[in-house]
Amino acid sequence: MEDLKVKEKFNWPVTILLILGLFTVLFPLYMTVIIAFKQPSEMTNDIIGLLSFPKSWSFENFAEAMRVTDFWRSLFNSFLITAVTMVISIIIHSLMGYAVARNMNTSKFYRFSYFYVVSGMFVPFAILMMPLVKQTAQLHIDNVFGVIVLYVVFYMPMNVLLYAGYLKNIPIALEEAAHVDGASTWTTYWKIIFPLMWPMHATVAVLTALGTWNDVMTPLVIMSGSGVNTLPLAQLNFQTQFGTNYNLAFASYLLALLPMLIFYLVAQKQIINGVTNGAVK
């Protein structure tokens, strides 16, 4: 009887430690919000001056930051790149995963293709970077389109691995039944297999979106000098314009973080599930 009681009790010491630990996560965010709302004149050198509430909660800094960093256009580019990459990745990578998973056991060609694509995971961007800059410039795709193409290629190893793994658990009998009814392989895929893979599509969508949204290096090297920015790239490129006006800078940082924070608030469960699936599989 006593045992049961113990089990229903909450572990309060650990709960309290976790509450204290929240400080490490929330302090940088708190500081960002506070500084973003302040005026430069409120920024004294002592710790209280830096971290106290602003005198008034005005959105002036944000309006100015939006103007300086061309916020809406950067946001649009980030959104465009992420959304298109996500959709193309789901379509192409799942198809490739399907072709590989269904033929790996019988065909050397597909077994080779699988290991060929998946081993791409070990290739660091640093070695591709310089040749890719030349290559995209020669092909005249040193722009948003080129960045999307590169992302689709970079995420292919991981996503094909995930899709192929998932398809092993989908019985082939389903397709064979459809075949007997006279449906082509192509139709069978879209009508039967693709809808069955929704849990994996969600995982792929989350992993691809998180990676592309926050990436700096690819757009930095591919689109440099074109004046086209993504949200993180704008922070890098306008860093000098903020100068010592940290209030303006932090308003801009907060704006850059906000879309992802809102998305996380809305789709927290899907994001956490997606990330866990991707890492553990």
Partner: protein
């Protein structure tokens, strides 16, 4: 038979264009990088073949040497720190605590934020907030301490991810294993050391490999916090390749550096998987 052919044709129509795309933007640049590494290409203009000279020079170049030293120091310290902290976090978040889903939600936030902006925010903390408390100079301006600041920022973000993986590891341990062990008198540290830890060993492998790989490729944090300084003490390999290869006229030389870096990453990943898999089997 006709349907067999149709099936084969469809699969080829799917896979060949995709493989070509992959070849064109992954394998082809890899080969090109390899070829450039034997030239003295500056990124523009004409160039000559220099044979193995870039590779020979790499081993005597102190700046390259420093970047490897810094990157490995960072990767090893960060990997250990992240794994220890996130294992403790996972144990805490998996305990019978109140507000469980709230805690899990909040502690994951650092992982979804962009590393560059996080770097800028921490740069301010290191430059203004910490010195205001400690009355010491900024860590970022001290060549002996700047790397520690980068470890902290990397850890702040990565702990969230590793914790999540450890939590899903802890959830694979069946409840009755604990019950059986506590009947045998195992509690606390003993229980963890002999029961929990061996059972989640596969997740230690995942986390170690992931952390190591991510920290070896560190770039955004360097861009935001130090730009390689002070006195080139925090130049990661990726940063050096980007900085000198793209803007410093060392396209060929840094290509050689990138080839070595690529080999290093492959060797480390394979070794880690082999070594840690062996431990799993033994346990």
């Amino acid at each position: 038979m006709k349907s067999q052919n149709e099936r084969r044709r469809t699969f080829l129509c799917i896979s060949i264009p995709i493989l070509l795309l992959f070849f064109g933007f992954n394998t082809l640049p890899l080969i090109k990088g390899f070829i450039y590494s034997f030239t003295n290409f500056r990124g523009y203009g004409s160039y000559d073949w220099v044979g193995w000279r870039n590779y020979v020079d790499l081993f005597t170049d102190s700046r390259v040497g420093n970047s490897y030293w810094f990157t490995f120091k960072l990767a090893i310290v960060a990997t250990i720190l992240i794994n220890v902290v996130s294992l403790i976090m996972a144990l805490a978040l998996n305990a019978k605590i109140k507000f469980k889903s709230f805690f899990r939600g909040v502690y994951f936030i650092p992982n979804i934020l962009g590393a560059l902006v996080v770097g800028y925010i921490f740069s301010y903390i290191f430059t203004y907030i910490l010195p205001a408390i400690t009355h010491a100079a900024s860590m970022l301006a001290d060549r002996n301490w700047a790397w520690v600041a980068i470890v902290i920022v990397c850890a702040w973000q990565s702990v969230a991810m590793s914790t999540l993986i450890y939590i899903s590891g802890l959830q694979t341990v069946p409840e009755d294993v604990y019950e059986a062990a506590s009947l045998d008198g195992a509690t606390g540290w003993k229980l963890f050391r002999h029961i929990t830890f061996p059972l989640i060993m596969p997740f230690v492998t995942i986390n170690t490999v992931l952390c190591m790989k991510n920290s070896l490729m560190v770039f955004d944090q360097i861009m935001a916090l130090t730009k390689g300084g002070p006195a080139q003490s925090t130049e990661s390999i990726s940063f050096l390749i980007y900085n000198n290869g793209m803007n410093g006229g060392q396209f060929g030389f840094q290509s050689a550096n990138a080839v070595i870096f690529f080999i290093v990453i492959v060797v480390i990943s394979v070794l880690q998987l082999k070594f840690l898999n062996k431990r799993e089997e033994q346990l």
